[in-house]
């Protein structure tokens, strides 16, 4: 049984100009000790998807799914109290902006201890020891000193690491991370990624990592789901995805980034023409067709779901050989 199972997740947001169908039938699963990266550009629905998994959708959003289960628990049926006992303990989330999850009027130590005590029947001292331990794990050297500091006394990178420590202090089974390292310097980013990788290997932590950074995905993911306009357009084990990207969008995205030693300096990068289609109203056929060089009239109404290998699926009316031509 998978740790996290999502089938046909739909998120609609009613607005003045019609309902925005932000997520249009997304399905994936995360296993124990596995990292699934959802990669996509802003507005593709990746953040909404990750927030919905923890019941943190904006109030006006309507979330529906055929299946939304975590370790056998049906998340669709949970009440707020049940959510609270699940969140932070067995599933936790870390965000891009640490200031939204750190309370400015509490010390780092009291926040970390609070999270731990909420879910564990232990004494203050024990919680404190755990907090120190966690801060050290995320690479904060003088952990004891930091406990008595307030969020505003820390640099952005440190705050981010404190938040990650908060997410991990209860030893969750599943970590949902929404671009947690985007604002960090490269070496701090690496340190965090390594920590997550160790936890994954040692404790069987399942990780759902949302990002726009293809380089990070390549180095960190076990499996990848590429999102575009509210759908997962391609999903594959990481090596297969980069060795043989099947969806034209995935291919275009990979060609967009300069790679030292691979792309010729100064040469034009592969850009994707046009803009993301509007997500208001229903969509027929392929959402990428207006920006796709290989699109044909059939793409306006049909969309084929193909598999390249059993674990490698993509939504396109053509094979990679046909679209690459």
């Amino acid at each position: 049984m998978s740790l996290l199972n999502v089938r046909n997740l739909r998120i609609d947001i009613p607005g003045p100009r019609g309902t925005l169908h932000a997520v249009r039938g997304v399905g994936f699963h995360v296993e124990k000790g596995e990292t699934l990266c959802i990669v996509g550009e802003s507005g593709c629905g990746k953040s909404l998807t990750s927030h919905a998994l923890l019941g943190l959708s904006p109030k006006i959003a309507q979330v529906e799914a055929d299946q939304l289960s975590f370790d056998g628990t049906d998340l669709r049926q949970l009440r707020e109290r049940e959510w609270q006992s699940l969140r932070g303990k067995r599933m936790s989330m870390i965000f891009q902006d640490p200031m939204t999850s750190l309370n400015p009027s509490f010390t780092i130590g009291s926040m970390l201890e609070e999270v731990y005590l909420r879910h564990h029947r232990v004494g203050r001292a024990q919680a404190r020891a755990r907090a120190v331990d966690m801060l050290k794990k995320v690479g904060i050297g003088n952990a004891e000193e930091r406990l008595s500091q307030y969020p505003h006394q820390l640099s952005g990178g440190l705050r981010q690491r404190v938040m990650i420590a908060m997410g991990l202090i209860c030893g969750p089974d599943l970590l949902i991370a929404d671009e947690p390292t985007t604002a960090l310097d490269v070496n701090i980013q690496l340190q965090i990624l390594r920590l997550l990788q160790d936890l994954k290997q040692d404790m069987g932590l399942g990780i759902l990592f949302v990002t726009h950074d293809l380089g990070l995905v390549a180095r960190f993911a076990d499996r990848v789901a590429v999102m575009y306009a509210g759908r997962i357009v391609e999903t594959a084990p990481v090596a297969e995805l980069f060795a043989r990207p099947c969806h034209p969008y995935t291919r275009a995205l990979i060609n967009c980034i300069p790679v030292p030693g691979r792309t010729r300096p100064g040469a034009p990068l592969g850009a994707i023409p046009g803009v993301v289609p509007s997500l208001v109203g229903t969509q027929t056929g392929c959402a990428f067709r207006d920006r796709c060089a290989a699109a044909s009239p059939v793409c306006a109404h049909a969309l084929d779901r193909r598999t390249d290998t059993p674990a490698h699926a993509y939504e396109c009316n053509f094979t990679p050989e046909e679209t690459a031509a």
Partner: protein, 326 residues
């Protein structure tokens, strides 16, 4: 009071910082569907209008303020009688809805037999003139100080903060009383006295608003384009702090109107026989137990005007939401 405004301006900002607003997560950096040809500027405007149209407070406030404005403007046409002409045979006639009221004086008359409706209509002119006049003076003083302090920071900020603190330490009402008592009450004196006293909120709010944008890159871009400081302040900073300015201005107008009423009530504001609502209340106070309407009517007028202005101000703030649109 200044703190209250600061709190309400900053709570607007806090709303933006909530972790998850729908627009934040869904807003694609490349917007879905590039804006169409003509619809672009119109769409924003129509958005504002639509929000305005569905904001009851704003609509009620605007309608009332407009109505009072029109009444004040057309007072010579609307007023049934001369507001100054006395008729000692028709003293203290009750309004038309009372048992012995009559349509010849719809709102009755005062102790000197002057038509109350006409005096209320002309009184609106005084209230509005003082409200807007004093606020305009205060806005110029306070905004100049606040924007300079916020933009330059450092010494300028120190000096302005000091001056604001000195001003806040002065009991405005007492100072106004003393000044008016020394110089003598008149419309001009009241407007200037109030204008020179109530700029503190403008200074505080404009300073905070300017501080929030002073490090933003569009100001750096203007500096890099060679723009002069006055140009940057007037053309780049001012449009972005206008929202806060309007909100403070509406509150101050209401405040100044009440201030004038209080001064006039104490006999140190506008002098008789000028029809001022505060003065009318003052003149009616000896009759208030047996003829309550002599103070209830100007009191109600004052209440409605101040409420309307406050509703309008709150509504404008909600609808334009200057920060939210950035």
């Amino acid at each position: 009071m200044a703190f209250w405004i600061r709190a309400c301006v900053s709570s607007d900002r806090l709303q933006m910082k909530e972790p998850m607003t729908a627009t934040e997560i869904i807003a694609p950096s490349d917007a879905p569907g590039a804006p169409d040809a003509k619809t672009v500027p119109e769409r924003a405007r129509s958005d504002t209008w639509r929000r305005a149209a569905s904001h009851p407070g704003l609509l009620i406030g605007a309608a009332l303020v407009l109505a009072i404005f029109v009444m004040a403007l057309l007072a010579p046409v609307l007023a049934p009688r001369d507001p100054y002409s006395q008729d000692l045979t028709a003293r203290l006639i009750p309004p038309v809805w009372a048992t012995d009221g009559s349509w010849s004086h719809p709102l009755g008359t005062d102790a000197l037999g002057r038509d109350y409706l006409s005096r209320i209509l002309y009184g609106a002119r005084i209230s509005l003139l003082i409200g807007f006049g004093a606020t305009a003076i205060a806005a110029v003083i306070g905004t100049t100080m606040g924007v300079l302090a916020g933009y330059f920071g450092g010494k300028a900020d120190f000096i302005v903060s000091f001056v604001v603190n000195v001003r806040l330490a002065l009991p405005a009402m007492l100072v106004a009383l003393v000044v008016v008592a020394l110089v003598g009450g008149s419309l001009t004196v009241v407007i200037w006295t109030l204008g020179l006293l109530v700029w503190d909120r403008f200074a505080v709010v404009m300073r905070a608003a300017t501080q929030q944008i002073r490090t933003l890159d569009y100001l750096s871009a203007a500096r890099a384009a060679g723009a002069s400081v006055p140009r940057i302040l007037l053309s780049e900073v001012m449009p972005n702090v206008m929202g806060a300015l309007i909100v403070v201005a509406t509150l101050e107008i209401a405040q100044a109107i009440l201030f004038e009423a209080a001064l006039s009530f104490l006999g140190l504001g506008v002098q008789p026989p000028t029809p001022s609502w505060g003065l009318m209340i003052s003149e009616g106070k000896s009759h208030m137990f047996f003829r309550p309407w002599v103070i209830a009517i100007p009191g109600a007028a004052l209440f409605v005007l101040v409420l309307a202005i406050n509703l309008l101000g709150d509504g404008i703030r909600d609808v334009t939401a200057p920060e939210g649109r950035a």
